[in-house]
Amino acid sequence: MNLLRSEWIKLVTIRTTWTMLGLGLLGEALFAGLYVALRPLGELTDFGEEVAPGTGLLLVLTLVLGVLAITTEFRHGTASSTFLASPRRHPVLVAKLGAVLLVGLLAGLLFVVVNAGLGVSILSSRGGELPSFSDLVSIYAGVVVSLPLICAFGLGIGAIVRNQVGAIIAAIAFFFVLSPLPTLLPGSIGDYFPAQAIGSLHGHTEGEASLGQVGGGLVLAAWALGLWAIGTAIVVRRDLSE
């Protein structure tokens, strides 16, 4: 619990965290507000599919926040202080996982406030057609779950790569470039990669083999935890010589 508090303080006492969350939310607010306000009502038939999942901007920034949660420690040499305060390294990595899940959850909740607040209120004031309340809840639940998981996914890659720029590039490339590729393969193997898992989690249903929201969430969680476990094993063994 002490370590979780320590990791939380680390995240909230640098501007980067707030800048990135702020930018992401601002982008999502502009998108939701403008899209719903400007699109002809006749073409705006599926709020749940078109607007509610957002643009992916906040998703990318949250992914990067997860990477930074550990790479900054190596970049600025604070990892040494961290592991002096807690020479047992496993608990530190568990605390980092907890902290990024919390930041991701915060991002998710704020996203819902912004997206639903602007999108739904503007749409209903224009007299547009809203999806059912239960549909909205399930889409937003998917988003709220996906952000902590993507943040943890970033943490795992950061722990494995350690170099900050390298890890950011690796995380983005893996998530957005490599992981959609297996959909080109026959069968449903592509669904078990993170990009498609997020799609399932957000309630997309294209393709027959969609895993569904729960399935998508479990797949994404498995990726995040798996990478975190590999990264933890590496960091626990690494010499800190700088």
Binding site: N2, T82, D239, S241
Partner: protein
């Protein structure tokens, strides 16, 4: 039991041997200096003692135990490693708060140690704007956070002005006098001469000598003596067990302390005109011990 001990410590990085079968022990109650040129293995040795890197062979022990298993790490051992090891965007105070939280130390302690290192005024500013000296002080504050029994400081005098040096020396003296173990590294002999009581000299990862500063200095630094009757005093000094050489009409006296020389002169009725340690030869002695071939490290100079 020594507070800090390395036994046959060896650390290799690929083919490079950073520390080579090094053994020594550090006791409480005094300031022990780890002195050697850059690249001698000082930082590696300290990091092994802190559990930050795993020895290739041998062991590093804190209070007789491996450092990775410490129960209350910050209360046992405080370390200041490099002046740059902070997130530039975080304030000094917040840096300490993250450590205090992890080490189960009340957050109020952060303000206390900031006051101790006289950094209170800059505590809420981001580290980005700190000078090297301020970073050194912040690193020291972090080391003191848990009120530890042992302090390990890597090149703490780097970037301090003469006033800062005096302040550091007084602080370390006080901490050692309280019964703590203070272990400090430097590649600059003149810094060490101001700070340390005990000296551990290493070179190329190996132990060169473990001695007290007094012994090292006494051996190295003769007293320069000018007087009214050099020949008469010279005879008395030699009788008293000193080695005497002559230089520019002055006597260079080894093996006796200033007070002893003065007493002898008084007994013989010789008026002393000058009695001073020949400081420059301390550096010479250091170079001699270390071997002058280690040029790159800037041994002994103030660089």
């Amino acid at each position: 039991m020594a507070e800090l001990e390395v036994r046959n410590l060896t650390k290799r990085y690929g083919r490079t041997v950073a520390v080579d079968d090094l053994s020594f022990a550090v006791d409480a109650g005094c300031v022990t200096g780890l002195l050697g040129p850059n690249g001698a293995g000082k930082t590696t040795t300290m990091r092994a003692l802190l559990g930050l890197l795993a020895p290739t062979r041998g062991e590093a022990l804190v209070e007789g135990r491996p450092p990775r298993g410490m129960r209350e790490p910050l209360r046992t051992i405080g370390a200041a490693l490099e002046a740059t090891a902070f997130h530039p965007g975080r304030s000094g105070r917040n840096h300490l708060r993250t450590l205090a939280a992890a080490g189960r130390i009340p957050a109020s302690r952060a303000d206390e140690v900031l006051a101790t290192v006289e950094l209170g005024a800059a505590a809420r500013r981001r580290v980005k704007g700190y000078s090297l000296g301020m970073r050194q002080r912040l690193a020291l504050a972090a080391a003191l956070l848990g009120d530890p029994r042992i302090l390990i400081l890597d090149e703490p005098a780097n970037g301090l002005d003469p006033q800062g040096m005096r302040w550091l020396r007084d602080l370390l003296r006080t901490l050692a006098a309280e019964g703590r173990t203070v272990f400090v590294s430097s590649h600059v002999l003149s810094e060490m001469a101001q700070i340390a009581d005990e000296l551990i000299l290493i070179r190329r990862g190996k132990l060169v000598a473990q001695t007290t500063l007094e012994e090292f200095t006494a051996e190295a630094v003769p007293m320069r003596v000018r007087c009214a009757a050099p020949d008469r005093l010279r005879a008395a000094l030699v009788e008293g067990g000193a080695t005497v050489a002559e230089e520019d009409g002055a006597l260079l006296v080894g093996g006796l302390e200033g007070a002893e020389i003065g007493e002898l002169a008084l007994a013989r009725g010789v008026a002393l005109h000058e009695l001073a340690p020949q400081r420059s030869s301390l550096e010479a002695r250091f170079l001699e011990v270390m071997g002058e071939d280690e040029g790159e490290g800037g041994v002994g100079d103030g660089a």
